[in-house]
Amino acid sequence: MDQFAVKVFVRLRPSVLDPAGEATKSASIKLGAEGIKSLRIGKMIEVKIEGNGENEVREKIDLLCDRLFANTVIEDYEYSLKKL
């Protein structure tokens, strides 16, 4: 069995309003940061997982992302995978 470290990024789709991102953007400007054009908040999920090779692990992660980590009505996901 191979072990992999996976980092999953879940982001709100561009068309979906992100009120938390807007509020953080507003606070960033109040802090004095200049030039912020856009600020959106997502999630990063770290998973350590084992399986027989990268393809099998990708299948498992795809299922987790599609069914649990992200709600694909409003969110997109992507992930990176590193063999340990």
């Binding site: 979906v16 309003l17 009120p19 938390a20 509020a23 649990l68 980590f69 709600n71 009505v73 409003i74």
Partner: protein
């Protein structure tokens, strides 16, 4: 009808389960029992309420974890059998996450947790949840949520409108919901999800009785 029993589902973090039980038993004299979320035996209940609260602490997304409970797995056959399911607030969020109803509920536009009475237009009578014989076109119910902004893509919205699945709309949209949506049903009409709390409007002494009819309609066949 004497033995008609409504199951009120209790998740870790549910907090309106007792309110629903009080409204059903105390105000409407409908036999009610709690169903722990790990139970998958729904054979002795005739209708189900998924109450409000913060199931599993709203971790990941509201309703996302509750969806994987044994009870929600068993709900598919229950719904297909035509029996009625009412999801209130967090219950509505669970019904969308688990695919019984389309769309999703996400953070209110202004980020506030809104606790208020709202005026609602009754849009569709599908399923009989708001069919009081045409006495009222508008009702007043309390809302209490931080993540009640209904969102769906334009194709889904068109389907909701064309199939008359939008049950309730806010008169003055408090949270940024698409198309002012406050509650929807499935195609068959036996599943209703809504953000407002009918169980908190069942006695004049606490501000109104506009929620009684919807709870009472749980016993419709």
């Amino acid at each position: 009808m004497d033995n008609f029993t409504v199951g009120v589902v209790v998740f870790p973090g549910s907090n309106c389960d007792r309110d629903v039980l009080w409204a059903l038993e105390g105000c409407l004299d409908i036999r009610t029992k709690y169903l722990w979320h790990e139970s998958s035996d729904l054979s002795d209940v005739d209708a189900i309420v998924l109450p409000g609260g913060f199931s599993y602490g709203d971790y990941l997304r509201c309703g996302a974890i509750a969806r994987f409970s044994p009870l929600i797995n068993a709900l598919d056959d229950f719904v297909k059998s035509g029996r009625r399911v009412l999801g209130i607030c967090n219950g509505f969020q669970i019904l969308t996450e688990s695919g019984f109803l389309p769309g999703v509920l996400t953070a209110n536009k202004n980020l506030n947790f809104i606790c208020d009475d709202v005026e609602l237009d009754i849009v569709s009578l599908k399923g009989g949840w708001f069919n009081d014989g045409g006495k009222k076109q508008t009702i007043k119910l309390p809302i209490a949520h931080g993540e009640g902004r209904y969102y769906c893509d334009s194709d889904t919205l068109k389907k909701l409108v064309d199939s008359e699945l939008i049950a309730l709309k806010y008169k003055n949209n408090p949270n940024g919901s698409s198309f002012d949506i406050a509650g929807i049903t499935n195609e068959k009409g036996n599943v209703l999800g809504l953000m407002p709390h009918p169980e908190r409007a069942c006695d004049e002494t606490i501000g109104g009785t506009d929620g009684l009819f919807t709870l009472k309609s749980l016993i419709l066949k």
